[in-house]
């Protein structure tokens, strides 16, 4: 009896495997002739199904949350079906997770991002030439340098975008530095320094600080003595708010008037330290003046460096719909594309003088016109 069941089960499983592999095969062959990536001219009326795969979970207050906001925009403005897959923070699940997400036929465009996913995306995307892939903040191997199945089709169905956080960070640095120099921030007259707390000492984070330092330098601060940069590190760099707070406290003790946390959840401790030190802080990625709920903490936030991953994704979706999205290339989105910038909210207007605001607005123009070039650690 039991044997019979086993035989039936095996047959059923085998049959289903054959059937599914068949259907997968036909689907790859048939639409390949239409090759949306190559022609990039889908009919405007077609409602796409867009799937976002994140190698973490939502709630990071950083680019995953921002990317999910982008999905909301796509849903609302283009009427697309959207879906989010969270792969958790377990690295071992990322490659198979992306592979599974790409293999299932429930999407037309797949969105993923981050440095770690670049290589996986480069390998997986060529296997599904009839699907579109939108990628952010990582390296796609367009030139097929890595070999071993990486971008065998030159990833001609992948569009990749980088965000010039260095440009946004420059603006934040300039606004902070000018305010500090003018002694315009109340209660920190004797403070001359600025602190920056990164999650880890990696190029992606240092790119923020390179721009930040350049902005502070242009405001007249001495980058060697007035700017303190430190990293949370350890085995949990992005979710250790106690350590983030402790580092911020030490920076305030050493004469920092403003501290900027670029460390995910660890950075949330900075705002509490700012309140205790009667000093100021800066937000990152989203406008944290609006995401922090404690009124005492939010009023310490001079401004935030906005990194609009969501807007970038929505932009890609719209350009794809109009057939202007350049597949097979990577694009750098900066101040000129409104992909990064400085949060101009009521608190910024209250804390930063009109004169400084005007100078920052001028810098925005200068960056757009190419008059100001901001250094970067990437590329």
């Amino acid at each position: 009896m039991r044997q019979k069941i086993t035989v039936w089960l095996t047959t059923a499983i085998a049959a289903s495997m054959i059937l599914t592999s068949c259907s997968a095969a036909t689907s790859t062959v048939a639409p390949a002739t239409t090759a949306p990536a190559a022609t990039a001219a889908p009919s405007a009326a077609k409602k796409l199904r867009v799937k976002l795969v994140i190698n973490g979970t939502l709630g990071d207050k950083s680019f995953f949350d921002s990317a999910s906001l982008g999905m909301d925009i796509i849903k609302k403005e283009l009427g697309y079906d959207t879906k989010i897959v969270e792969l958790s923070y377990d690295r071992n699940k990322w490659e198979p997770g992306l592979e599974d997400a790409a293999a299932s036929d429930d999407y037309d465009a797949l969105v993923a991002g981050s440095l770690d996913m670049g290589d996986y995306m480069s390998k997986i995307a060529p296997k599904y030439p009839n699907k579109k892939f939108w990628f952010f903040e990582g390296d796609i191997d367009f030139a097929s340098k890595l070999g071993a199945g990486s971008c065998t089709n030159k990833c001609s169905n992948v569009y990749s975008m980088y965000f010039k956080q260095n440009e946004g960070s420059y603006l934040v640095g300039l606004a902070t530095g000018l305010s500090l120099k003018a002694k315009a921030l109340k209660g920190i007259d004797n403070k001359t320094k600025v602190g920056g707390i990164g999650g880890m000492d990696i190029p992606g984070i240092n790119d923020f600080f390179v721009g930040f330092k350049q902005g502070l330098k242009d405001a007249g601060l001495n980058p060697d003595t007035d700017i303190i940069i430190q990293y949370v590190g350890g085995d949990n760099p992005w979710n250790n708010p106690a350590k983030g707070k402790e580092i911020a406290k030490s920076m305030y003790q050493q004469g920092a008037g403003v501290v900027w946390g670029v460390a995910g959840g660890s950075g949330m401790g900075v705002f509490e330290a700012a309140v205790e030190a009667n000093a100021y802080s800066i937000g990152v990625d989203s406008d944290q003046y609006f995401t922090v709920s404690d009124p005492k903490q939010k009023t310490t936030i001079i401004t935030s460096m906005l990194k609009n991953v969501g807007a970038g994704i929505a932009r890609a979706a719209k350009m794809d719909a109009s057939g202007t999205l350049k597949y097979g290339t990577a694009e750098y989105l900066g101040v000129a594309e409104d992909a990064v910038g400085l949060a101009n909210n009521e608190n910024y207007q209250k804390l930063v003088s009109a004169e400084v605001q005007a100078k920052v607005a001028q810098a925005v123009k200068d960056i757009k016109d190419g008059k100001i070039k901001v250094d970067t650690t990437l590329k």
Binding site: D201, N240, P241, K243, E246, K249, M268
Partner: protein, 314 residues
């Protein structure tokens, strides 16, 4: 450069060490009691995380930090009972059950925070209450001591008081001695009528109580919100402190303070222009070096005892 060094030699730095060490001392004492009873509590990390989360959430919804504290402790106790049930009753390996509880705590806390706030990262949408900060009259006006001893969080004081209480309990009470006897030799203890299982349950529950206080300090003292996985391995560092402290309350306290000091030092030195990788090596290097020193000291002592024994026997 000068300002960082100046801070290291100031009262503020000592006060920082106390603050950084608190969430290590308490779980370390908890780990010690469990260890001495012969039931290693690997779940300290998960217990801390659970109580950190429960403390914040309950304090927000009940508007009472004390109910938050109570909730945090109760949940850690439930975890201790689960740990005890699986290990003592069902004879499962305590390390495995402990690890399972840690993973459960990490997932469950995120899940509950998500259910209540819609945020999978932290509870910053809620404004948590905190445990009170204590200002000690008279002492607060003494120049150096005042800055160090006064103005700390209530739980920091509790950590030091707990060290004394744990010592008294383990070495001066009948129950404490029974717990140690059970850990030393369960069969011998059983033969004189001590209930091994009950002693270990008790030890695990005391351990959970102390771990819970450490967790509450993290989310309702150190910072005032819950962040996913915010314990960041402190429960495991606490276990290391137990061994480094030669399984003695005072030794454990000192070991936890050494770890805290190493961490505080790395934070201050991080502000200098030293490569961050070097600075971040300080805590692990201190751990390894102190373990080596401890091993050498123990070996010497063993050798000395042996020599003495040989002399007397000849």
């Amino acid at each position: 450069m000068d300002s960082a060094l100046k801070v290291i030699f100031s009262a503020v730095f000592v006060s920082t060490i106390l603050r950084v060490s608190t969430p290590l001392i308490l779980p370390a004492l908890g780990g010690l009691i469990a260890e001495l009873s012969g039931a290693s509590n690997i779940a300290l990390e998960g217990m801390m995380l659970t109580s950190a989360c429960a403390g914040v959430l309950v304090s927000v919804y009940t508007h009472s930090e004390w109910l938050g504290l109570l909730a945090g402790i109760s949940l850690a106790e439930v975890m201790a009972l689960i740990l005890g049930y699986f290990h003592l009753k069902l004879k499962a390996d305590i390390i495995l059950v402990g690890l399972a509880l840690n993973i459960l705590a990490s997932g469950a806390t995120i899940f509950v925070v998500y259910l209540l706030t819609g945020d999978k990262g932290s509870s910053t949408k809620l404004v948590s209450l905190e445990m009170p900060t204590i200002t000690i009259p008279i002492i607060k006006d003494i120049p150096f001591l005042g800055e160090v001893l006064s103005g700390q969080n209530l739980i920091t004081y509790l950590a030091f008081i707990a060290t004394g209480l744990v010592w008294l309990f383990l070495y001066r009470t009948r129950l404490g001695i029974h717990i140690r006897a059970v850990g030393e030799n369960p069969d011998a203890a059983r033969s004189v009528g001590i209930n091994v299982s009950a002693m270990r349950y008790l030890a695990l529950m005391l351990s959970a109580l102390l771990a819970a206080l450490g967790g509450i300090h993290l989310s309702m003292g150190y910072v005032k919100f819950f962040q996913r996985d915010m314990t960041s391995g402190r429960g495991f560092i606490a276990l290391a402190a137990v061994y480094l402290g030669a399984k003695h309350p005072v030794g454990t306290l000192i070991a936890a303070l050494v770890f805290g000091a190493a961490d505080a030092l790395s934070i201050q030195l991080g502000n200098l222009n030293i490569p961050s990788q070097l600075v971040q090596m300080i805590p692990p290097v201190v751990t390894v070096v102190s373990l080596i020193l401890y091993a050498i000291a123990r070996k010497r002592r063993a050798a000395m005892l042996q020599r003495r024994f040989q002399k007397t026997s000849v």
